[in-house]
């Protein structure tokens, strides 16, 4: 008695949702305080045995969860209780809470199966609707499996209100429980012929989603969809059907021809912009081979572009960028509109316009367009500015700098980009500077000039985003120091005190580059000494080397400067910088004594000249770009196990791995560097007569002795070293091999300056096919039956559900008959409809007979079964 009376009191004095909302608006406690108070109240009320109190509490909780992000997963069980109420308003609240808060992990999910089933079978259509909505949102595998029979029944319901919801739910059920397809698919398909627009709309929506996920499986239904496309005047339905055809036409080109005409007709007829746009998008994305359709679509796009509505303008530009790759003329036709859109106030519109502009770029207008864009970049906000820079970078580097003729100009442009105040695209610019250095020999002098300007620019050092560019500049000026006007200044720039602002990894690049410059200076000094002493000619002041004429004093000065600047760095905490600095200092330590002492003496015998010559050797190895497919070109030799577990190797190599890691300069540098080192080692090992065995090589030999099992067999290496050579082409050799042809065929004859050679790697499809794949193709050609087996296996795999349906049905022959009769019916109805049908009918009957032949001699054709047209 007392408990029931308290529950009644609770009920009478409980705050309703409206009270809660009102309270929320009047509260002075602060939002979070108010929420926690309300939650306290809810927690108490929700335990009540009275279902109205409980449901009101749950209702309030749903409100707080939906709008204020309160967690309500703890109330899952209470939601289940509320749903089980016999009253509609309680059920509604309960289902809403479940829909909102349940997910696959919710543990009480198991408890609702029976309740949902009961409600699905309810005589009250609104209860059925609640259960369906709930299932559409939270359906799990188990729920979908257990409730498939109910959903199947509802698909045949006489009430369209229930039927359309059941159709909507089917999507979720299929997704979670594939076997449901066997049960429900047929009923679903039948609804495609429904005369009720709501039902049709729902079912087409489901097929639209299915076709997006797996177009192959919907292909056999093309006749039904076609009928809808021709007959329907409901824009919602038409848009969905168009989407389906966009998917289907992309896998079945013949379908494109068939649907182009009705689509064009919709385009001409309708006034609804959404439908026009869907037609346009379908044409440009999937029917782009159909000239007439594309022309019409582009005309419609043009109408969109000149509208004042920003939505249409944006979508028009969007559609243009879809059509651009295949029909550039459509973009060029609208050039003025696009350039005008660059100054639109809407960033989305600007972005699309930018995209299109870059689409238009070719070798004739690249400098003009880039110039315009750079001006925009200077004026724009940081976000858009970087988009512009990114687009210019990617358009110009496309296909190994295909459209760039004047690399001096382009390198200069890259330098300019670094000076745009908002520039944050340092990494891409870094990559391109290095890439051009490696690929384009003729651009190197200009690269060095630009790098020099970047290195001495004090403004850049402070900008975090530009550090990668500086890293590239430093690398370039070290690597291609022979083009430098004044190596001293380069060294000074590389070692300036403000480099302390750089992160250690980049500082290490700076120091290493300074090392390269130093070695270069010493080398040319020694060699000039040599020539003067050997020729003994007084007039040996050859004009060409005037800029590289190093005097003893200047060299000594250089060495001192480097020693002075790097000295403090040998104490630094950063290992990378410290190592690099120590390297240089160690080198200087070896040579300095001799240089200081021996003024104007014969150097070619001394230790320092030998060391310098050795270092020059190390640095003179030229880096080439490495093809992404280079690895694939190397065959795996017999006896080499690549998949074996090499865990124990770590133990052995642990000590070697660490220093390699810290050695990274930039990734390209690292790779090629190690390659060249390996090469030196190889030489030393095979022809050990040339020089006394180096310490490293003896270590290597020892290592090989100890861990022989991890090396390749030496027999193979030694006798036929030629063949191994061809098996493992070095990166540079690859590059040389391919660099014969890269002159641009489209080069204009009246050009003042020829396009420099760009080393381009052969990344074509051919190279990507592995030998094994090639073999597969070969055998497939030989053996027809095998290919058919593979294709049918593919069909099973791709079609998945669809195939299941056919195979699950024992009387598939009958199915086929049904299908063909359906097609006939469809054609009859088409006959009645329009005059233009005559021709089409002939066409389709031809197709039909063709199809019959195929069925008769099914062994001949192996493509997708042609029930379509």
């Amino acid at each position: 008695m007392s408990s029931s009376s308290t529950s009644i009191m609770d009920n009478l004095f409980q705050r309703s949702l409206e009270d809660l909302i009102k309270g929320f608006r009047l509260q002075l406690l602060g939002e979070s305080n108010f929420i926690s108070r309300a939650l306290e109240e809810i927690r108490r009320e929700i335990k009540s045995t009275d279902l109205s109190t409980k449901s009101t509490a749950l209702h309030k909780l749903s409100y707080l969860a939906a709008l204020h992000g309160v967690d309500m997963s703890w109330a899952a069980f209470h939601a289940v209780e509320v749903v089980s109420s016999s009253r509609f308003q309680h059920k509604r609240i309960g289902y809403q809470a479940i829909t909102q808060s349940f997910n696959d992990q919710t543990s009480v999910m198991l408890l609702i199966t029976n309740q949902v089933r009961k409600d699905l079978n309810s005589a009250n259509e609104y209860e059925v609707s609640l259960a369906l909505e709930c299932l559409s949102r939270i359906g799990t595998h188990d729920l979908a499996r257990d409730l498939t029979p109910e959903v199947f029944t509802l698909l045949g319901s006489g009430k369209s209100f229930v039927k359309k919801k059941a159709i909507g739910v089917v999507l979720r059920v299929f997704e979670k429980y594939h076997d449901a397809v066997n049960v429900c698919f047929k009923r679903l398909v039948e609804n495609l012929e429904s005369s009720n627009p709501q039902i049709l709309s729902a079912v087409v929506g489901v097929f639209c989603e299915l076709a997006t996920k797996d177009p192959q499986s919907c292909l056999p239904l093309a006749p039904e969809f076609y009928k809808v496309l021709v007959d329907s005047r409901n824009n919602w339905v038409l848009i969905k059907v168009l989407k389906i055809f966009a998917k289907l036409a992309s896998i079945e080109p013949r379908l494109g021809k068939k649907v182009a005409e009705p689509i064009c007709e919709h385009m001409r007829r309708t006034v609804a912009k959404s439908l026009v746009f869907e037609c346009v998008r379908t044409v440009v994305s999937s029917l782009s081979d159909n000239e007439a359709a594309v022309k019409l679509a582009v005309a419609k796009i043009r109408e969109f572009l000149v509208e004042d509505d920003p939505n249409l303008k944006y979508l028009g530009l969007n559609a243009l960028s879809i059509v651009a790759p295949k029909h550039l003329w459509a973009v060029l036709e609208n050039k003025e509109v696009i350039v005008k859109a660059m100054s639109d106030e809407d960033p989305n519109v600007k972005l699309e316009a930018l995209h299109l502009l870059m689409e238009m770029v070719n070798e004739d207008n690249v400098s003009e367009i880039s110039r315009i864009l750079m001006n925009y970049a200077l004026k724009s906000d940081p976000l858009f500015c970087n988009e512009i820079i990114f687009f210019v970078l990617s358009a110009c580097s496309r296909n190994a700098y295909e459209i760039i003729v004047d690399f001096d100009w382009y390198v200069y442009l890259l330098g300019e980009m670094a000076r745009i105040p908002h520039c944050q695209r340092g990494e891409e610019i870094e990559h391109q500077l290095i890439d051009i250095g490696m690929r384009v020999r003729d651009a190197r002098p200009q690269l060095v000039r630009v790098s020099w300007a970047l290195l001495i620019d004090p403004a850049l050092l402070g900008n975090l985003f530009l550090h990668p560019i500086l890293s590239a500049a430093a690398w370039v000026s070290g690597e291609y120091v022979e083009f430098s006007k004044n190596p001293y200044e380069t060294v000074e720039a590389l070692l300036q005190p403000r480099t302390g602002l750089l992160p250690p990894s980049i500082r290490a690049v700076y120091i290493h580059s300074a090392f390269k410059v130093l070695v270069f200076c010493l080398g040319s000094y020694f060699s000039s000494q040599e020539t003067t002493s050997s020729s003994l000619a007084q007039e040996s002041s050859s004009g060409s080397s005037s800029m590289n004429a190093f005097t003893h004093g200047s060299i000594l000065n250089l060495v001192n400067v480097i020693e002075r600047d790097l000295g403090p760095l040998s104490e630094t905490h950063d290992v990378e910088v410290q190592e690099r600095a120590k390297n240089v200092l160690g080198f200087i330590g070896m040579i300095k004594q001799e240089i200081a002492e021996k003024l104007n003496l014969q150097y070619n015998e001394t230790e320092s000249s030998r060391v310098t010559a050795f270092m020059e050797d190390v640095f003179s190895e030229e880096f080439g770009p490495v093809s992404a497919t280079a690895q694939e070109k190397a065959c795996v030799p017999d006896g080499l196990e690549l998949k074996e577990n090499l865990g124990d190797l770590e133990e052995i190599c642990g000590e070697f791995l660490k220093p390699v890691e810290s050695e990274s300069v930039s990734y390209t540098d690292k790779i090629s560097f190690s390659v060249s080192k390996l090469r030196i080692r190889d030489q030393q090992e095979t022809s050990s007569s040339s020089s006394p065995p180096h310490e490293a090589s003896s270590l290597l030999a020892e290592h090989r002795k100890r861990h022989g099992m991890y090396y390749l067999t030496s027999q193979k290496e030694d006798p036929d070293s030629n063949s191994t050579h061809s098996d493992y082409p070095l990166a540079n050799e690859l590059a040389n091999e391919i660099s014969q042809d890269p002159f641009n065929p489209k080069r204009k004859p009246n050009q003042s300056k020829p396009r420099p050679v760009v080393v381009k790697l052969d990344d074509g499809d051919e190279s990507r096919i592995t030998p094994q794949a090639k073999k597969n193709i070969q055998t497939a050609k030989d053996d027809e039956s095998l290919s058919r087996a593979i294709q049918s296996a593919l069909l099973v795999k791709n079609k998945g559900k669809e195939k299941d349906r056919y195979e699950g049905n024992p009387n598939s022959g009958q199915q086929e008959k049904e299908e063909s009769s359906r097609i006939e019916n469809h054609q009859n109805s088409e006959n009645k409809k329009k005059k233009k049908k005559k021709k089409k009918n002939g066409e389709s009957s031809k197709h039909k007979s063709q199809r019959r032949n195929e069925v008769a001699s099914a062994s001949e054709q192996v493509l997708i079964p042609d029930f379509l047209l």
């Binding site: 029931s4 009376s5 009644i8 009920n11 949702l17 409206e18 909302i21 009102k22 608006r25 749903s62 409100y63 969860a65 939906a66 709008l67 992000g69 967690d71 997963s73 009253r87 509609f88 308003q89 509604r92 609240i93 809403q96 909102q100 997910n103 696959d104 369906l132 909505e133 559409s136 359309k164 919801k165 909507g168 739910v169 999507l171 979720r172 627009p197 709501q198 709309s201 729902a202 929506g205 489901v206 989603e209 997006t212 409901n234 919602w236 848009i239 989407k243 966009a246 912009k273 959404s274 746009f277 869907e278 998008r281 920003p310 939505n311 944006y314 106030e345 809407d346 989305n348 519109v349």
Partner: protein, 161 residues
């Protein structure tokens, strides 16, 4: 499909959320914060579409409320704008020139209406009349039940006195 529906006021207050794809509670709050930041800052004369995390968000402002729907890349933006407009018209018809306050106090009703309009992220009903009819029928159902309930509780309350 439509992944979620958001109603956000000019001041950034959330008025309705409906999720058709799975999002955890934390993600939901994050999504709301992120999107309302983007959308509320867009000027009045810009287009109604925003690219967001590989999806598109279509939004439209009605008085002080922003109606936002998140859709897939290949969905039709104009169609979704029409769905939004459709929804607003139904709300308008139901409440009789709807305003933000109506939605604040009848938050659940806005939900029920949306549930009749969309299912599983797809449009299920394109007729305004039908939706209105269904909603009022359900309201009736609730009213009748309420009357009964209140009368019973009255009886009990009398009895326990």
């Amino acid at each position: 499909m439509i992944h979620f529906v958001l109603l956000v006021s000019r001041q950034g207050k959330v008025r309705l959320t409906k999720w058709y794809s799975p999002y955890a509670q934390k993600e939901r709050s994050k999504v709301i914060r992120e999107l309302s930041g983007v959308i509320l800052n867009r000027g009045p004369k810009l287009c109604n579409f925003v690219e967001w995390r590989g999806y598109k968000v279509v939004y439209k402002r009605y008085a002080s409320l922003y109606f936002c729907m998140c859709i897939d890349q290949e969905d039709n933006e104009l169609e979704v704008l029409e769905i939004i407009h459709h929804y607003v018209e139904i709300l308008d018809r139901y409440f009789g020139s709807v305003c933000e306050l109506d939605l604040i106090f009848n938050f659940h009703k806005a939900y029920y209406i949306l549930d009749e309009l969309l299912i599983a992220g797809e449009l299920q009903e394109s007729s305004k009349k039908t939706v209105a009819r269904i909603i009022s029928a359900q309201d009736q159902l609730v009213e009748v039940a309420k009357e009964e309930a209140s009368s019973i509780s009255n009886i009990i309350a009398q009895a326990t006195k």
